[in-house]
Amino acid sequence: MPFKLFDVSKPIPERKEHTYVKHCGDPAECLPKCNSKTIPGSMTERGCAFAGAKGVITGAIKDVAHIVHSPVGCTAYGYGTKRYPTTTEMPDGSIFPVKDFNIKYIIGTDLQESDVVFGGMKKLRQAILDTNKEFPFVNAIYLYATCTTGLIGDDMDSVAKEMSEELGKPIIAFNAPGFAGPTQSKGHSIGNDVLFKQLVGTTEPPATTPYDISLIGEYNIDGDLWLLKEYFKEIGINVLSTFTGDCCHAEIGWMHRAKLSVVRCQRSSTYIAKMIEEKYGVPYMKTDFFSTKYCAENLKTIAKFFNLEDKADQVIANRMAKIGPELEFYKKKLTGKRAFIFSGGPKSYHLAIPLEEELGMEVTGVSSMFEHEDGFEKMKDRVKEGAMVIDDPNALELEELVEDYKIDLIMGGVKEKYLVHKLGIPSLLIHSYENGPYIGFEGFLNLARDMYTSIYSPVWNLLEFKETEEPDIPNVEEEAK
């Protein structure tokens, strides 16, 4: 039986189709049902389309003011919640006046009852004027629809057009109200679509080289981008645009000038790579930089495209020499430990094989909040016989699988982290990381170290009071020698 219904989900038997247990002989089409509407009241961990658009795609851009057209909640929740650091350096060599501007400020229309009745367009116009006055240095203003503005039917596109002409500054509207689509994934695709249609092809880069790439779907979580950029620089590849980590508004406009689009987060941003290929003929490559093996392979593939393989070999050798010995230590400590990966999307398949092959761990299951079929195909391919592949697992199912599968570590988000602890199990933040970056060589070492410190924290041996004897706590450092 390739599909499993958790005991806790017996009252909602629809959940069975979403919970696949890998059986190697299964036909390819045997996959968990995904990207479909959530069962109401099922304790989902999913978010909304607004979170997907502003939270994931555009919130990483450094020189843009974001106006959330909403009652105050969505604005408050869009404020500085994701670890997307930005620098002040602009591609033309100029300096943007505020570091981490994207984390530091959020703007909203704070809609009131009267706005809901009479419409909020006037308030939106005024908010745009206020924003331009308050932050005259921003290079664009982005507007976000929310449930309220979607329902009352405010025409944000027309406001954006009108105000853009008035201010002489790009103003872009994102119509991804919270209720759109089954998950935040809908917001990713709307974000891609709007940025492609309205920006790509509208600007020219200050300079180009024969080695230009667009790095797509790299949002600089905890500094991931800065690591990757070092590798590319050493190889001789120029990151002409990033979509959208530490990038500026203008960079999106010249993505079509790259020689190659490199797609890092395949779920949230393959859309724009495809559209750029179709319209401008720039080929794209889906890549994978988590772990030493994937990072090495993919750097080589990209380098090969530019005939720079030797340089890539050097980068790889240099980094492996740097991290290899310490990684060996963690492998020794992590071997045999059972992990469950509950990521938003692609990290579930990026990490499954590396955890097993490079760190000797056992991946008991993978799951995702918002992946689509193509992502689940990869998850299924990359886990072992008997491992679970779950779409949208809910809190109760998480509890049951911890109990049934003897899990040593759950990798998830902050919403799951503390529940997992209450079950007596270590956790690791995999969306925004504990002490990242987690990408590339050094990042994989950070990840291994964080998994090690989570699992081996002495606290897990001290959970319960022992009336008669002291607990036997192994000295982990000694043992590793």
């Binding site: 109401p40 809901v116 449930c147 689509g181």
Partner: protein, 460 residues
């Protein structure tokens, strides 16, 4: 001397110092034993709030959502709510479900009360009539586009008073509505009540649910319910209490409802922060319960007074302070820093409130200070203000940490949210003990910042 109101000079809100109603209602429902908040809205409405709660308390925050999508926007959310209620009832078997509306379900105009009725009928076939009768399902209307999170909290407590409270035998207990304060604050209030030998009903008690022990052998699992919280029976019994004290006038509707319907006398605020406000809280307790104030409490008062005598004039006098946050906490702290001889130079709240201005007027009168007062404003307004009007100290939540860093002003963290440091949810700021915590925190912050570590002044 007096209050100098600084008016908002723009329409846009930049870095809000408030959020929308549903968060307050989710907070209130979490304080009930085996309760499940069910948010009738989009998934972001629950996901973001859970994120915020978990970030602040470092605790699980289990909240259900009806997952409204496009079809509900067109045809209404009946199916989602009826199905959602049943799934929550059958799988999580809570004692009580709080159905919390959002902007979308309010705009769509869903008949929440009618849908709950339908769901209850259909549930009878699934879990039996008796179980359905026992399970409370409470509608809590929290339109996001009206007022703030505090109103959502107030609406939730009022819904409990209206739908759960039930008169029977007088019980000699005192009801306490804590408002949106931290677990440490509620524990301090309970400590005071214990010293006074009073039994109480806390409406509602998040102290354990949002600061729960990690003890797998003693934890209720599948589904996880945190330890503690006020039981449904206790809430029902609140109609029989000798009185209700709401620690905040911004969450008084439930108290007034109990007073009107069941003659339970109500006292609203002030929050017991500092000497005079805590004194008033004790007088209110005495007035409503007839219980004397024991020496043990007055000794604790004496410890705070002792600390104030020891350090306030020497280290704190005339230091200027900017205070921001929820109105009751902000005005309470303003009064306390006044008692310490400091100068509350600027106060800021995100709520629209005349009461807040009145409270600050009182502080201005007591301190002789001119207090720049920003009402219904945001954190950007404070950033702009501080640029021209520097202060020695900021007191408030984590959201202004970057402003504090920008101007190199030390920040004393209080209230919600505090996510860039640990333990603040556990430490009280209310009661005399909370005052001691605060004075230590403020004084040590001043010493860190304004005294050279090697200076002879620190020698004794």
């Amino acid at each position: 001397m007096g209050v100098n109101i600084i008016k908002k000079d723009r329409t846009a809100t930049i870095n809000p110092l408030k959020t929308c109603q549903p968060l307050g209602a989710m907070w209130a429902v979490t304080g009930i034993r085996r309760a499940m908040p069910l948010v009738h809205g989009s998934q972001g409405c629950s996901a973001f709030v859970r994120y915020c709660f978990s970030r602040h308390f470092r605790e699980p925050s289990e909240i259900a959502v009806t997952s409204l999508h496009e079809d509900a926007a067109v045809f209404g959310g009946r199916k989602n709510l009826v199905e959602g209620l049943q799934n929550v009832a059958v799988r999580l078997k809570p004692d009580i479900i709080g159905v919390i509306t959002t902007c979308s379900s309010e705009i769509i105009g869903d008949d929440v009360i009618g849908f709950i009725k339908t769901a209850r009928e259909e549930l009878k076939g699934k879990i039996g009539e008796e179980a359905v009768e026992k399970m409370k399902i409470i509608p809590i209307s929290t339109p996001s586009f009206v007022e703030t999170h505090l109103k959502g909290y107030d609406n939730a407590i009022k819904a409990l008073a209206d739908h759960v409270a039930e008169p029977s035998q007088p019980n000699e207990k005192i009801n306490i509505i804590p408002g949106m304060v931290n677990p440490g604050d509620i524990r301090e209030i309970k400590h005071i009540l214990r010293l006074m030998d009073l039994e109480s009903i806390i409406l509602t008690d998040i102290s354990d649910p949002f600061d729960a022990p990690l003890r797998p052998s003693k934890t209720e699992l599948k589904p996880y319910y945190p330890k503690g919280g006020t039981t449904v029976d206790e809430i029902a019994d609140s109609a029989n209490s000798v009185g209700t004290i709401s620690l905040t006038k911004y969450a008084g509707s439930g108290a007034l409802s109990l007073e009107k319907k069941y003659n339970v006398p109500a006292e609203l605020g002030p929050i017991p922060i500092g000497i005079q406000n805590t004194d008033q809280f004790l007088r209110n307790l005495k007035k409503l319960t007839g219980q004397d104030i024991p020496d043990s409490i007055l000794d604790e008062r004496g410890l705070l007074i002792d600390s104030m005598a020891d350090v306030a004039s020497r280290y704190l006098f005339d230091k200027t302070v900017a205070i921001y946050g929820d109105p009751e906490i902000t005005s309470g702290i303003a009064r306390f820093v006044g008692e310490l001889g400091m100068e509350p130079k600027m106060v800021l709240t995100g709520s629209k409130s005349d009461e807040f201005v009145k409270d600050i007027e009182k502080v201005a009168k007591e301190t002789g200070a001119e207090i720049d007062t920003l009402v219904d404003q945001d954190l950007r307004a404070m950033e702009v203000y501080l640029k021209d009007n520097p202060v020695d100290l900021m007191i408030g939540g984590s959201d202004a940490r970057l402003t504090a860093k920008e101007y190199d002003i030390p920040l004393v963290r209080v209230g919600y949210p505090v996510y860039d440091r640990v333990g603040y949810h556990r430490r009280p700021i209310v009661g005399y003990n909370g005052g001691i915590q605060l004075i230590d925190l403020i004084t040590n912050t001043v010493l860190e910042k304004y005294y050279e570590p090697e200076h002879w002044k620190l020698q004794q």
